[in-house]
Amino acid sequence: MRKTGRIISKMAWYIVMLFVAFIMLYPLIFSLLAGLNTRQEFGHMGALFPVPSVPQFQNLLFMFSMRGLRPLLNTFLRTGWYTVIVCMMAVLIGYVMARYKFKGKNFFLISILAVQVIPGVLTLIPGFIFMSQLPFVGGNNWRGYGGSGLINNPLSIFLPLGWGFLIWVFLFMQTMKSMPKDFEEAAQLDGCGFWRMIFQVIIPMNKPIIAVIAVNVALGVWNDWLIPFLYVTDMQHSTLPAYLGMLTSQLQQFGENDYPRIFAMSTVATIPPLIIFLFLQRHIIEGIASAGVKG
């Protein structure tokens, strides 16, 4: 009697979880299938599973033409750049905060934590205006008027550094504090300087937590469509998710939409983060879980 009850509850678990997994994966399956249609066929199909009669690859291939490739390349560059910068920042500041004694450490620590609760609404639009009013760039005078500043400048999606990233400094610092100091002390006795210590002791010994930080930052930056969307209007200087944001927001306005092209681009835009996620999911999940427990 108990045994059949257990089997039934096991069955129920699998049915419910399969249902949940299906819902979660459905939009991605949909966009993969839809991207393989021609515009005409998709327009008349209206199916929940738009399986094409003959798979078409021209929309996917568009991504690898000159016009499609630039945004993709920009996304890769931007993601890589921020991942490196944030990891460097987390390691350097996290290390000195965990190990060194100096005046004002508490001030730095409190400001790292305090800025995490400042709502992004307070800086989103002013940040955009700030970009457009930087003096002496993009035709601006010394007061920041007359031109467009860094708006639409390819650099504008690489320069700003949001203070939300400081949370990773905190995570690295907490991890360092729980590590033994033996190796560092031995290296110090051997006369190891600061930069050698960072590159030959700290980074090799903390690879797991650096991986957690890198993967989470990379996913976040890849999927950040809003900043490039705001700062850059010429899509050749923008990123793929921002390009798609522009196309998706126009879906509300026009009657005839080239859905298959959007979905083919979506598929291409989703594949790199999906691969990162599938290979490194342990690190991502660890990062999210520890953010909840330690924060």
Binding site: Y14, G46, L92, V115, V121, G162, N223, P241, V293
Partner: protein, 299 residues
């Protein structure tokens, strides 16, 4: 010896400042200046073409005049946010609980619930827009094929709010579930065993062992959730664009339009300041409430 130690501390302090201060100055440049500027714009009329003119509290008076609809949009931001956040929190808790069961294949399910968060919002909303197309959309064709009447989704406030919330939950439930899961796995199994030996039922164990152990995790999910939903506008912009007739418009979406499209930066600044301050107030109230409860239970 004492001399050497002192110099070492001095050296450490110098290195620390040389590392930290450049980063902090750079970050302050890109964040602190816009923050202060944005609050300042709230007291001015400003269109980014000519310097701002000071108007004192005029913008705030306009904000609180019901004719201008700001209050309506703020209220809608709050109730849509609360609805989305509470559904997300409850649903993700049960998914987290289910993922914690020792079953074969749970690794696959853990990955699959997180996958929506791997794709950008701008990418996955297009699927919803396509499915909700009134004539050629997959959902209406499906309704017709099972003998139901098609629904003009975008002409109904109810359905647009419904789909915005469905999207929000679909995208965020996995992340919250994994945070819950981290909390669940952090609970000492010995506590569960002790309760079981004392004859506690499954439900009692959930209520008296699991839930108290999850207090910090719950606090984190709800706190970050409050901050997120009070600024949610991208989902609204992509899925409903505020339709029908602005009935699903929210304050953050108007701030975005004023800031990036209409350049009514004075009102954008005022609304941002009010929305941001309100978010902080909610966060503080929630934290106070949470800590108070804890103190009572410890006493």
């Amino acid at each position: 010896m004492a001399l050497k130690r002192l110099s070492r501390e001095k050296r450490e302090a110098r290195i620390a400042y040389m590392i930290i201060i450049p980063f902090f100055i750079y970050i302050a440049f890109w964040n602190l200046i816009p923050l202060v500027q944005g609050i300042f714009y709230g007291f001015t009329n400003f269109n980014a073409l000519s310097p701002p003119t000071w108007v004192g509290l005029n913008n705030f008076r306009r904000f609180f005049d019901p004719v201008n609809q700001y209050i309506t949009l703020l209220w809608r931001q709050i109730w849509m946010g609360v609805l989305a956040l509470s559904i997300n929190t409850v649903l993700s808790f049960f998914i987290g609980l289910a993922l914690n069961a020792k079953m074969k294949g749970r690794g696959f399910f853990r990955v699959s619930v997180y996958i929506p968060a791997v794709a950008a919002v701008s990418v996955t909303t297009a699927v919803f827009v396509s499915l909700l197309d009134p004539i050629n959309g997959g959902l209406n064709r499906f309704l017709i094929s099972v003998g139901q009447n098609p629904i003009a989704w975008s002409h109904s406030q109810f359905w647009m709010v419904f789909w915005v919330i469905v999207f929000f939950v679909w995208r965020n439930v996995g992340m919250a579930a994994i945070i819950w899961l981290g909390g669940l796995q952090g609970i000492d199994p010995a506590l569960h065993e002790a309760a079981q030996i004392d004859g506690a039922s499954k439900f009692q164990r959930l209520r008296y062992v699991t839930l108290p152990g999850l207090r910090f995790v719950a606090g984190y999910i709800i706190l970050t959730g409050i901050i997120a939903v009070m600024q949610m506008f991208d989902v609204v912009m992509f899925i409903s664009a505020g339709n029908p007739f602005g009935q699903t418009d929210v304050l953050m979406y108007r701030i975005y339009r004023y800031g990036a499209v209409h350049f009514n930066l004075g009102m954008a600044g005022t609304s941002s300041t009010i929305l941001g301050a309100l978010t902080l107030v909610f966060a503080v109230i929630y934290l106070r409430f949470n800590f108070k409860r804890e103190e009572n239970e410890h006493a």
